[in-house]
Amino acid sequence: MFNLALKNILFYKGRSITTLILTFISALMFIVYVSMMDGSHESMLKNALKVYTGSIEIYKKDYRDIGGNEYLITDVQKIEKELDKIEGIDTYTARYETYGLLSSSTQSSASLVAGVEPLKEPSMSQLKVALVEGEFLSPTSGNCLYAGVDLVKKLEAKLGDEISFVGAASDNSFAADLFKLCGTFRTGSFSFDASSAFIARAYFDELMMSHNKASYINIKVHDLNDVDTINTQISAKIDDSIESLTWKTLMKTMVDAMEVDSIFGYITISIFYVVIFFVIMIFGFINVSSRIREFGTLRCIGLSRQKIRTLLFYEIFILSSIAIMIATPIGAYIAYYYSVHPIVIDGMSEMYKDYGIISDEIPFSFNLFTITWNISVVYLLNILSILYPMAFINSFKPVEAAHHV
């Protein structure tokens, strides 16, 4: 049957070439399109995670929903001791965040002001590498303020200037101080750079009366794929008033947005597959229609309906396999190449800064599992496309088919 199928493929060149080309195009397009879509989503998530958000964060319950000083973590050291016992955690840091009004001699701006651990922060976030001017914080940097470039621009301040801070301390008392601008950073995230400033925790804790307290504890895991397992371990070790959340919950809006984007992407690409499916089916149908007498003769000499189905299956399987074997390495190479050398669209991050885009790069994703399911879909569609022609040809009685004109 296999040899007969091969012979038929070579004999009916028109149908074979059309099926090969269309299958090749659809497999290639699917691999490249999905790789680009997944790549841009992964990149957005990765960028968002590496800027400031952790892969796991520990909060007092209701801090995220209600907020306020009543919902601060009040025994950071106890939780940190438990974290030390869990494998897979690279590092962690406790941050104390508050909103306050920062003012230079001429301008004021509302800002997030966070007390961070200067030695741990560089391995947790991009704050240190995002340095533009001046210096990053150190445990002894005192009242040094490390602020986003867009915030500094709003304040019309320069390095060395005094910046006043007005806010509320962790016990709800009034807190005010004079900071000194020691460094500026640019992460690329416009909203973050325009409304965030950092100060060494040792100094900030004195001002905010926040010793051993934290808004949350930020955790970096060794392998992002283990995040759920580690989160389960953390949840088992902390008491009920504390919750441990992974990036999937912390960035739910972004995850959902990507899901919506993927849905639209798949709907769009499905048009191609519907059309290509029909065209392959039409060519398959035309092909069997022109071979009714041949199939009639085969049935007359003893071939069963099942054998005819097997013959047609082999034909489409061989054609699909050839096309996919050519398309897959090319598609995989394109996906790999652009995952290493992303496409750059100058000005894209500036244009879409309000939407959290922080890079001009569109990297592709190279994932063998994704490529495998992509080509499986193409295989499946091609095989489905031959079902109607199979049913059509088997609807003829052998003698009727043998005499068909």
Partner: protein, 403 residues
């Protein structure tokens, strides 16, 4: 003769019914999906730009020349109300509003966030962009220190209608000043900037709070259909920055351009594959009947008549597919235009990106005309190859041909 050819073409188009039906289904399914997606994408883009026009910039906005780079109180338009009064007299201007906006810190007892307070006149805003359309919860009034707040900011601050908040900022003299407000309504404008940071209060109250002259504004927004008004305003106010919608929102231009390129690419590729489908069927259909054409030519039928018959056959198949596709496509678009695509399950994500949770499609005549031309052309081109084959053959060879 034409009547006979027409009849022959019609009958032959449906001679192999299964084959013809497959082509018609292929055209109809791909066309209706194509129309639905185009309509939905256009609807999303239209909805976004319409709301940005109505809630913020209008077709043209006038600012102090430094304001957009440095949004501080000092960078205001000095005689804004005078300019507004003058513009209202202009027949090309449909509506005009002045706004004063300043950044600061909004805080409740538990949460704080960066915010942008905007002083507006509700009546003017209603005329300008049907402001009441943006209200999602509460009422549209500024009584008793009332304020309206963007939906995302409300989420950040965890406030609802009736909640109190305090807004602090520097006033005209550089002193830190605070104002207590009560939330009267929550807005969704589909403008990410406004939804994530805007607090709207009465313009008069903001003027008093900031200690500024009531004649000044940071923005004068204009609704107009005129394409020449911007140039005229640039000449009239050379010291001010007069920008149109796309200059203020270059992202929308980029989005629009990408949408056109993307939609065109999908359209061309899909129509090309459709062409291959029609070509395959027409080619085989003609080869199947090559002896028939030989006999027709043998008994004296001109080649031009055979050509006409084949062209008509292809057009019948193509146009039947088009009609079914247009019917399904229109039904789909009509549904999406009136009922919409409900993505409430992803409400947070949609709203944070400035989209409605229910997406509505646009219906444009061009969808149907463009597809008509494409299918008409694809049908015509599909017979080119088989016709050449017939033309090259001698009638006797055609009759003898082994198909």
């Amino acid at each position: 003769m034409f009547k006979l050819i027409l009849k022959l073409a019609w009958n032959n188009a449906f001679l192999r019914l299964s084959r013809t039906l497959l082509v018609i289904i292929m055209i109809a399914v791909s066309m209706s999906m194509l129309l639905a997606i185009q309509g939905l994408f256009d609807g999303m883009a239209y909805n976004m730009s319409d709301k940005m026009l109505r809630s913020d910039s209008g077709e043209i906005s006038i600012y102090h020349k430094d304001y957009r780079l440095n949004k501080i109180i000092a960078n205001h338009v000095t005689d804004a109300k005078t300019i507004k009064a003058k513009l209202e007299q202009d027949s090309e201007v449909q509506a005009v509003v002045t706004r004063f906006s300043v950044d600061g810190l909004s805080a409740t007892a538990r949460k704080s966030s960066f915010a942008n307070i905007i002083g507006i006149n509700l009546e003017d805003e209603e005329k300008f962009g049907q402001f009441s359309d943006f209200l999602k919860k509460g009422t549209l009034d500024f009584k008793k220190r009332g304020a309206l707040i963007g939906g995302e900011l409300a989420k950040t601050l965890k406030v609802k209608v009736g909640s109190k908040l305090v807004f602090s900022t520097q006033d005209k003299n550089g002193d830190i000043n605070s104002i207590a407000l009560r939330i009267r309504g929550i807005l969704r404008t589909a403008n990410v900037k406004l939804d994530t940071s805007a607090i709207f209060i009465d313009a008069v109250r903001l003027d008093k709070f900031l200690g500024i002259d009531k004649n000044i504004a940071t923005q004068i927004a204009i609704r107009t259909q005129s394409s020449t008004l911007q140039d005229k305003l640039k000449k009239d106010y050379p010291n001010l920055s007069v920008k149109n919608f796309l200059e203020i929102n270059p992202m929308m231009q980029m989005m629009e351009d990408s949408m056109v390129i993307f939609n065109s690419m999908i359209f061309v590729i899909v129509m090309f594959v459709v062409f291959i489908g029609i070509l395959g069927v027409m080619y085989v259909s003609i080869l199947d009947r090559i002896r028939e054409f030989g006999i027709m030519r043998g008994i004296g039928m001109k080649y031009s008549h055979i050509r006409l018959q084949i062209i008509l056959e292809a057009l019948f198949v193509g146009l039947m597919g088009y009609l079914v596709g247009a019917l399904f496509g229109f039904s789909g678009l009509y549904y999406l235009e009136n009922v919409g695509l409900d993505l409430s399950a992803y409400a947070d994500a949609m709203e944070s990106f400035g989209y409605e949770t229910i997406l509505y499609a646009e219906i444009k005549l061009s969808y149907f005309t463009n597809t008509f031309y494409a299918i008409f052309t694809a049908s015509l081109l599909s017979v080119f190859l088989p016709l050449r084959k017939i033309k090259k053959m001698h009638p006797i060879d055609v009759i003898k041909a082994d198909t």
